[in-house]
């Protein structure tokens, strides 16, 4: 059981790492990027925080960048065998 738990966390950390990597690639203030993983009832909830100046960069025109972030994180989650959702926290 403890082993299964560890495995799940390992998988989740790859997904979290993917979001962290993507966000850092998009922002001006990489040092202010923070991703918190919260295990929700049905999915791993990834909360993304960035410097307020970078908000526009992770959301993009008409939310296109945010949508793309979610789509790619979903793919990473599929690879890791977990469900994950992304919340961009103001």
């Amino acid at each position: 059981m403890a082993e299964g738990q560890a495995g799940e966390e390992g998988a989740g950390s790859l997904v979290r790492g993917t979001l962290d990597y993507l966000a850092r690639s998009l922002v001006q203030h990489a040092e202010d990027v923070a991703v918190t993983a919260v295990q929700g009832e049905r999915a791993l909830v990834l909360q993304l925080r960035v410097n307020p100046e970078d908000m526009g960069r992770v959301i993009g025109k008409q939310g296109h960048t945010a949508r793309a972030l979610r789509q790619v994180v979903k793919a990473a989650a599929a690879k890791a065998g977990v469900h994950a959702t992304v919340e961009i926290v103001e």
Binding site: L14, S25, T65, A68, Q71, V72, A78
Partner: protein, 267 residues
Amino acid sequence: MNDAVETTGKTVEDAIDAALEQLGATEDEVEIQILAEGGPRGIFGRRVEAARVRVKRRDERTPEDLALLEEEGPELLEGPTPPEFTEQAEAAKEFLAGLLGAIGLEGEVTVATGPLAVTADVAGPEMGLLIGRRGATLEAVQELVRAAVQRKTATRPRVNLDIEGYRSRLRSGLERRARDAAARARRSQRPVTLEPMSAFQRKVVHDALAGFDGVATSSEGEDPSRRVVIRPKGEPRRGSAPRGGGSRGSGARGQRGAGSRQPPDYR
């Protein structure tokens, strides 16, 4: 219409205003290069140098359009690769390699530069995951590559992404469906209407059928439901009186400008 002008003015703003007027453009539609700041010159500041700017209408073609041009218009290939493309290619490669590593995917990234666009290709054993349903993840990755490249290089990104040849397969699938539909139109002597498509896809269809005997293609309706109609050639003439523009032969391609927005010629 002129696409670039050089103007002068008392101040940079004046020069820009004059240029925008000449171009009939707004500030967010152009790229501005300041050639001279203007202002006082000389020890006593008595002589005033004019501000000079070069204002160019921004190229609104999408990277997909440019990739297509690259494929179809070898005459356009003449000319140097813009210097920022090398930097963009490197940034794209670095970003994509990092993404594969973050997700835990094996794969190889190759990039190439041409005069009109940067092409990035990702190949590897589990790429279906990165392509997604109907290419949705591929589109998302492309969006992110462009955003990352723009952030890194501070240049307008011209990067096109393909994964395991997905886009090129899509293109040949579309061409095959276009030919099937054209054969159907010719056999039944009735128009065949395809599903709504993007401008890029419609162009692929028009081009695929340009040399197809016995049919003519046109695009009808308004985006996003604009679609290609394939008509048997001569079919409209069999009716009572020919109407409107009639169906077009390979000339359909030349009609894709303002003229093609006429009401559809239904029969």
